[in-house]
């Protein structure tokens, strides 16, 4: 189930909230545990078993690591064992196809390619449960005494399928001691509305636009190609950060507090700043559990470069089992290395405008690698960004752009922190609740209407 669906908004959510607050505090985690399974199992119920397996393994892993806390050898053994199983399951379900294809590239080998469909959210919850076992090992988090509480944490429906990747240590206390308050609930509703608006009102129409404009890649002209890839970059941002906002908002409604996952990434002045603002929970995870254990920057420049390449190669692969994602990861790895050791000195002396343009240019090109999974299409598209021989702006692309111009401007504005700065100034005025209510209703009305519209399918034969 996704948040931006009628069934979630008008059936699952009302029921869950009502039941959650009717259940006495002591039973709320048990209730959440089961209602999460319904949420997750809605589309593909059998995959619930896989998630339960993951919960059991990591619960047991954490338990064993804790039990042998004084026996360094055994403790390490159980940690490694758990992590190997976790990565093994993730690898089996996510990368088998890619590995088969790669092996088949070798001469004289032709193994059948096994198609395994990716269980939704597996990349997210696997990383969450691994963070738990590692944190217990490092004494950064207490061991979970209750299977239900641990299961509730892993399967918590707000962040289950698209993040943020909540570390166990950040919610361990909240799992047992959270307080649901009206203030938090209202804050959650407002955040949820912001997220729903980002997703349904901005990201979805941008997505339609992107599909339409990339249907005619060879006749869009230089500007058309740029408009397309900029729209795609914004679509990804609003889609993903909207989902994170909805997750945090829903968490608030249930009494939780999650950390921010996006912080206006497009206003960054360098690539490394961009990655401190984009998908923060993922960058944090890789830093804490991969980069620093590998030695980080403490073992000399050579080793640091290798570490960065490993981390970014893995970050790329985490996003998807395809070579363009690997390329995308290395692209950022190399950019960050260049930035750190060469460019930074020069950039800092440049005017802010140049720093912004530099960052946006590489980020947007990066999303090109993200969109075109086919290498030859990718190559053709990259050329079209700089090839003026095909004209400036194709007629069809221009029409499409003009039709969506107000959406574009609104989206560009929403990429900047201007609106939240403005909001911070006025939020203490007495009549603010009226504006907030109006905002909620407008988002609800427009979102409901676009979601209802998706189901309105006049039967095609009557076109004739």
């Amino acid at each position: 189930m996704v948040f931006s669906s009628l069934v979630f908004l008008f059936a699952y959510l009302p029921f869950t909230l009502l039941a959650y607050y009717l259940v006495p505090r002591g039973g709320r985690n048990i209730f959440l545990f089961f209602i999460n399974l319904l949420f997750y199992g809605w589309g593909e119920p059998t995959l619930v078993l896989l998630m339960l397996l993951n919960i059991v393994i990591n619960y047991a892993g954490g338990f064993l690591v804790d039990k042998y806390r004084s026996n360094e050898k055994k403790k390490k053994l159980y940690l490694i064992l758990t992590c190997v199983i976790d990565i093994g399951i993730l690898g089996l379900f996510k990368y088998t196809g890619m590995i088969c294809e790669t092996v088949n590239l070798l001469p004289f080998i032709n193994i059948p390619t096994i198609e395994i469909s990716l269980p939704i959210g597996i990349s997210f919850y696997t990383f969450q449960t691994m963070s738990y076992v590692i944190d217990v090992y490092r004494d950064d988090a207490p061991v979970s005494k209750s299977f239900i509480n641990f299961g509730t944490y892993v399967a918590l429906f707000p962040q289950l399928i698209a993040g943020p990747i909540v570390r166990y240590r950040d919610v361990a206390y909240q799992l047992t001691h959270r307080k649901e308050t009206m203030e938090k609930f209202t804050k959650g509703v407002l955040l949820f509305m912001v997220g729903l608006g980002k997703k349904v009102i901005i990201a979805n129409p941008l997505g339609t636009f992107v599909t339409q404009i990339f249907a005619t890649t060879d006749s869009n002209g230089v500007l058309g190609s740029w408009v397309g890839i900029i729209a795609f970059s914004m679509q990804i941002y609003f889609d993903f950060s909207g989902y994170s906002d909805m997750a945090c908002g829903l968490g608030n409604m249930l009494g939780f507090e999650f950390l921010k996952n996006f912080n206006y990434p497009f206003i960054s002045k360098s690539i490394s700043e961009f990655w401190r603002r984009w998908h923060i929970s993922l960058s944090t995870w890789f830093k804490e559990y991969v980069y620093i254990p590998l030695g980080g920057n403490r073992k000399g420049i050579k080793r640091q470069i290798i570490n960065l390449l490993i981390v970014w190669g893995l970050t790329g692969l985490w996003h998807g089992a395809a070579y363009n994602f690997l390329l995308w990861g290395f692209y950022y790895g190399i950019l960050l290395i260049l930035e750190k050791f060469v460019l930074q000195r020069f950039l800092e002396k440049m005017p802010a405008v140049v720093q912004h343009i530099y960052t946006l240019f590489f980020v947007i090109i990066g999303f090109g690698l993200f969109y075109f999974t086919d290498m030859s299409e990718l190559g053709a598209f990259m050329c079209s960004l700089f090839d003026f021989s095909q004209g400036l702006f194709g007629a069809q692309a221009l029409t499409l752009f003009l039709q969506n111009l107000p959406l574009f401007l609104a989206a560009a504005f929403a990429c900047t922190p201007l609106s939240s700065k403005l909001y911070a100034r006025v939020q203490d005025f007495g009549g603010m609740w009226l504006l907030q209510t109006a905002f909620c209703l407008v988002v609800l009305f427009i979102s409901t209407s676009s979601l209802a519209k998706q189901s309105y399918n006049p039967f095609l034969y009557f076109r004739f």
């Binding site: 969506n404 909620c440 034969y461 004739f464």
Partner: protein, 382 residues
Amino acid sequence: MEIKNKNIKISSFVPAAAFLLFIYVMGIWFLLAPKREYSPSEKRYLQKFPEVSFESVANGKFGENFESYFADHFPLRTMWVGLNSYYNLAIGNNGANGVYNCSDGYLINAPVSTENQIEKNINTIIDFKSAIKAPVSVITVPSTGYICNDVLPAVHNRYNDDEYFTQISEKLEKNSINFIDLRDRFKKAYAGGTELYYKTDHHWTVDGAYEAYTEFCKKLNITPAEKNSFKTEKYDNFYGTTYSTSGFWLTAPDKIKLLAKEHKGLTVEITEGNETKKYNSIYFKKHLDEDDKYPVFLDGNHAYTEIVNPDAKNGTIVLVKDSFAHCFAPLLTENYSKVIMVDMRYYKESVSEIVNKENPEQVLFLYGIDNLATDTSLPWLE
């Protein structure tokens, strides 16, 4: 839940209350409201409550169908669809649903994709012509947006009718097929104030069809029936296809006009599969009670229709067509004693066999240009 800070005003919770009120009202409304079976504006049956079984739940089919069920019966669904259309219009995205909201109350389909079936379909017609003896003519109806371009919104995709028509006429004339190019005549008539197309439907009006009929007669050297020899009937409240696809519910309805003439002994035989039904009128007035009244002409789409008029002087004409022909065929019956209509989307037997058996004076292909561009059933001719 508790209020932590007692200094906070109750009013600060109003946004959350409004949110809860909205999701609960809609949720409960959905539970209580009676469910419809059929959606006339979409011409489809709505999703029924999905079957619950171990298998359907386990393979996710139940969840999927339940989502369709929920969406299909969502409270105020029609209103939401309309709200979305007008929202898109308000933010400048006219044509978001593939229909432009134009001045003068016109709802016009956006142009078809430039990657289309026209060349393939024309080649099929040429191949067909070489296999039969009867003379062949082709009429393609220009798209509404091409003729009525003055009402279109400022930002719209280009209608490529000129390119298509040139391409078609060159190909057909090379193969000695008669192409009746309606562009000039239509532009003149439209400039003169004739409503050639419906405002809320993609079809042409009887007046549009009459223009095409006279042009056709002129090309073939036969005398068209005078317009004033017919009795004009007009009916209100016609909401056509572009209306129901667009969601622009505030658009004023169309009028539908018929040109009627009594002929003794006129019969209409409609064949669908193995079943043939016989009628005495071209007009099926029961459809005038529906929103979409266009099926008043010959009862809408059917595989095979035969109209016999003993009063007419000429022999037989075979009409391979889409629904644009439904208001055109009645005019042909003034001249041809037997009009055989074949719809390739439903008729899956040999058309050349009909031609060999009936030995018609003329074979006419009549398609709207948009349909010719998107139709994939014409190759059944072979």
